[in-house]
Symmetry: C2
Subunit: 357 residues, 2 copies
Amino acid sequence: MRITAVIMAGGRGERFWPKSRNNFPKQFLSLTDDGETMIQKTVARLSELVNTEDIYIVTNKNYYELVRDQLPELPDGNIILEPASRNTAPCIGLAATVIKKRCGDAVMLVLPSDHLIRFNRMFIDTLKTAVSVAEKGSSLTTIGITPTYPETGYGYIHFDGEDGCQAGVYKVRRFVEKPNIELAKEYVNSGEYLWNSGMFIWKISSIEANLRKYLPDMTSGMERIYDSVDTDRFTETVEKEFPLFRSESIDFGVMEKASDVYTIPGNFGWDDVGSWLALERINKTNEYGNMVRGDVISINTKNTIVQGNKKLIATVGVEDLVIVDTDDALLICSKDSTQDVKKVIENLKICNRNELV
Amino acid sequence: MRITAVIMAGGRGERFWPKSRNNFPKQFLSLTDDGETMIQKTVARLSELVNTEDIYIVTNKNYYELVRDQLPELPDGNIILEPASRNTAPCIGLAATVIKKRCGDAVMLVLPSDHLIRFNRMFIDTLKTAVSVAEKGSSLTTIGITPTYPETGYGYIHFDGEDGCQAGVYKVRRFVEKPNIELAKEYVNSGEYLWNSGMFIWKISSIEANLRKYLPDMTSGMERIYDSVDTDRFTETVEKEFPLFRSESIDFGVMEKASDVYTIPGNFGWDDVGSWLALERINKTNEYGNMVRGDVISINTKNTIVQGNKKLIATVGVEDLVIVDTDDALLICSKDSTQDVKKVIENLKICNRNELV
């Protein structure tokens, strides 16, 4: 069966401010030493499994130019633009509708655009297993990440180790929201929970049936969109119908409720690159533990992340800082305060300084 | 007797890098909230005692334009340009020579260009006392600063509290170099030592006699310069003679050796503004102890000095930092490491990046 991939690239993450902005979110940033952007890496790592003409990007219409610039190899018709943000369920429904019109039934991989995967061989092997499961029936499969510590910033997948459709593929009991630290420890120690990576694999027909069943409000709108795909009414129809869909995540709108849901534990060096702190995990650090990019002179500087821009940055006698320079804004943040960067953004919004948000 | 003032403005202090540069030293920076530069403040505070046409600036020839721009009210002939750096003795000798040609004998105040004085009334009163002492005889007087703590970064003046030419004017026993902390404590506790502020008051005839006596090498060169003052040969003569003078400070070249030397303790809120740390002493800080200039958003930031430039600076969860942004260089330094900024400058010199020094 034809394998298609849908990369969800509509996010507006604020955690990489001041490099990420409303008009330039994280998935379009280069955060690794190789210079590739997150979305470029996401597309590149699929090359062994999915043909370029079967890779779709769903993104906010404001990001069309960014996608076009960064992924010139993709057919223009594979860039699906959301006229409004409605979370992942309408996003996935829209992509499934387009693919159904073009391919009939097919396998559909759904992938975030802004994560990092270290071991691509194992990633592809995991996806191949998931594809074989999807082809066999009408199940929905999600990739879970084997947790390595009690992270409180992710959702978890509770799975049943005794019940699966084949070796290494387990029945999902339930999806659970971000836990507190005590619960997170319980989850990790139980051996029954995986991190929810937001990667899904199913047939178009499987997800379509589940969307009709659990989000029936979307059905007639999606049918009108289906009729317009690859006609000159498509954009107009999406702009009319899509904003009417209720904002809903696929996890809680469908996966929680569906009966035939499996998870495959992934061990392929997944990193959600969730904040500036990730840069020292995913890039080389020097002998003093500094992760430095750009024109930087460091004197007695330790465990510091410096993302330079055009000017010289001199750091003297500092440690555990995150320093990010851009053309119009500079962030100097202690490593244990990266969560508070959002307060800067709130302040900017309150002051109507939207050009900096 | 006519009162003249010589402001020594040839210094190239590196301690305000990256704002201060070889081609833009500290005395030309504005470091206080009122926007006036250090040298502008130095000139302004003399207005009650010295006529504008009797105020002279001695500076490196590279700084002519800076002086001209910042002090447009000064006669052009009062800007005396050193073709080379030869420390304070030749600098003072050159200025004395020019003033002698123009005024005959006169009182000469010698003042640094980059210090701050909080109580101008008391400063002027101290100078008036010094002027009266200078007029009376052939003594050399220096202003000492009553020390408030055992500073190891200043030279000290050992004075004789029992021996003076009038109340509040004491005989100098000796000048001592920067002490270690133990000695500094002894000095401060003894009540017999003052900080050496580098401010001097004498008659032209008094300093001239002492220069002839203790630095006789300079005499013939200074006489040739004297002959050229206010002729079209002046610049040429200074460029020929001045570099031949031996580099020598007035403290050790003359004051140490001269017999008729007095000091007047000053209590006028003197601050040498010796490093970025001074900014929080001399400017307002907010309720969190931050001294902030420019476009700055501070979240959980304490006791931090931020000298912004053109872009927004956001500080999050940091304390005890010095942050200085300029067009081509950014400094992020812990407060206890400001002495190490010179290591950055050394690094720049080694790498031949002289445009940043």
